[in-house]
Symmetry: C2
Subunit: 325 residues, 2 copies
């Protein structure tokens, strides 16, 4: 397995996921365009199968396993969208999935993965390491570990969302995506570079989890552990060994937004655009609405709404006085 990823890999991934992952719609808002003086195109990965772009990378990775590897199954550690994606992709590709999740993960997340037929192994995050457990499971079963972002096939799969966006709307001046471990950001940048030369690609992190911004600026991989932010998909400790160099090479800039700015963007998406988008999924719009992304009047701007998996009760709290404490 090569550790580099090119746009040709994104194209191959697009063929692999065709007819399996949704070709998600592109949404626009006249209100937003008038307010900003720009033309904004939202790639609705919240409407992707299992509710997030993660389906693309997971399927692309598992689809490339050998028959023998598929027979032994796959292993992943995640309490978020990657878990659901691995579970669903495994079911579709008729392999077995084991997901390592913290014992205190929300029941809905556990049930989501189990609903797609995965086996969930709970661990105690206070005393056990999920990496060690996943490695032990790998040794026991010989199952293939599919990491959440730092894997060429995962990155190539994630790049297919931006590829579809460019195919549908053409050239863009700016493309903004959320950034956790950088799988979506680096994959998107590969597509932008190939399909819309000159398009500035911007990655957005929550303020509390700004390791990516600091890594991007300093050139050295920085880490943040368990940042306190509502953007649970971007709590990743650091960029990866594969995603970091790609981001340094292909991404124009990175920026951060506060949780309050995320809620403001979510409110616009829910209230005006009628789209349920999770906090991490709203990072791109939050950056744009709060002026963190410079653009020229009339600019064509793409935003990846990365996911929509959110507990309605928790989201409700964000929109009311009980919101951000």
């Amino acid at each position: 397995m090569s550790e580099t990823v090119t746009y040709a890999d994104v194209e191959a991934a697009a063929r692999r996921i065709e007819g399996v992952a949704h070709r998600t719609p592109v949404a626009t808002s006249r209100t937003l365009d008038e307010r900003l003086g720009a033309k904004v195109f939202f790639k609705c990965e919240n409407l992707q199968r299992m509710g997030a772009f993660k389906m693309r990378g997971a399927y692309n990775a598992i689809a490339q396993l050998t028959p023998e590897e598929r027979r032994r199954g796959v292993v992943a550690y995640s309490s978020g969208n990657h878990a659901q994606a691995i579970a669903l992709a495994s079911r579709l590709l008729e392999t077995s999935a084991t997901i390592v999740m913290p014992r205190d993960a929300p029941a809905a997340k556990r049930e989501g993965a189990e609903g797609y037929g995965a086996r969930v192994v709970a661990y105690d995050p206070a005393s056990e390491s999920r990496e060690a457990i996943a490695a032990a499971l790998h040794r026991e079963s010989g199952g293939t570990l599919i990491p959440p972002f730092d894997h060429p096939h995962v990155i190539a799969g994630q790049g297919t969302a931006a590829r579809e966006l460019f195919e549908e709307v053409g050239r863009l001046d700016v493309l903004i995506t959320p950034c956790g471990g950088g799988g979506l950001l680096s994959g998107s940048a590969l597509s932008a570079h190939a399909l819309s030369p000159g398009c500035r690609v911007i990655g957005v992190e929550p303020e509390a989890g700004d390791d990516g911004v600091r890594s991007f600026r300093s050139g050295t991989l920085q880490t943040v552990h368990n940042p306190r932010t509502i953007a649970d998909g971007a709590r990743t400790a650091s960029l990866g060994q594969i995603t970091f160099p790609l981001i340094r090479e292909l991404v124009s800039d990175m920026t951060t937004v506060s949780d309050a700015q995320i809620v403001e963007a979510m409110r616009f998406l829910w209230e005006r655009m009628k789209l349920v988008v999770e906090p991490t999924g709203a990072l791109g719009l939050a950056a744009l609405m709060s002026g963190r992304v410079p653009f020229e009047k009339g600019a064509r701007i793409g935003i990846v709404l990365s996911g929509g998996n959110v507990d309605l009760g928790a989201a409700a709290a964000l929109f009311t006085a009980r919101g951000l404490q």
Copy 2:
């Protein structure tokens, strides 16, 4: 102005609103289809301009005013989606709109209409009649009153949503729409009758506002005043003089659902389909999920999600323990 409406009027309305109203997308859910053993197509009028199908009828009616009538402006009474629709359609057609709203209408509704440039006249629902005020405004200004449903041009406009659905997905076995005053239901039935002969058309009301069901069954127009239901778009006192005969002729059946069943359908739409749909908009799915609409295995079922205008705080309360009291 003729008091009858035919499918030819729906076709003419479709040409009139083309390029102005959105041709809204059709959403599907594998999860729902597997659960029900059917193929369900959702017409997403929550994604319509101003957030509801009402845009179609309002625009179709105002577009047919003479230049002299447009000069004098239009008058409407509504605290809901019809107000926003009249306000937006008036702005687009360069006429002035006066909306009569109860003094205690939510500020967001008033601001919504004003945001589109309408003049809002507040009245005290305890001591004044909105019809009398609207009539007085009509006498003063000569403005044309556009009623929320009982008007041939409004009905014809509302029928264009179902027309687009049939154009996109072809024949259906069942078409389910919410029913307040019956504008959407009768317009949809005209399209179903013309484009998918044999398709059963079902209207759904909240239990507390079951005047339409009783009218449909008895053949005599029944009324319900201020029914207590979360489906604020279906609190209409009765069907209309034009909609009632159309519904009697073209609709196969009508049914009701409880507020709890509406919340269950909303939860599915928000949580699984990532679509913000208001309580009235969820009536159709609520009826289907609660077994109120019989269908054969493998049936092709259309549902009109009529709107998405909801206060996020109020909706949040529905999804949490503070929900239905």
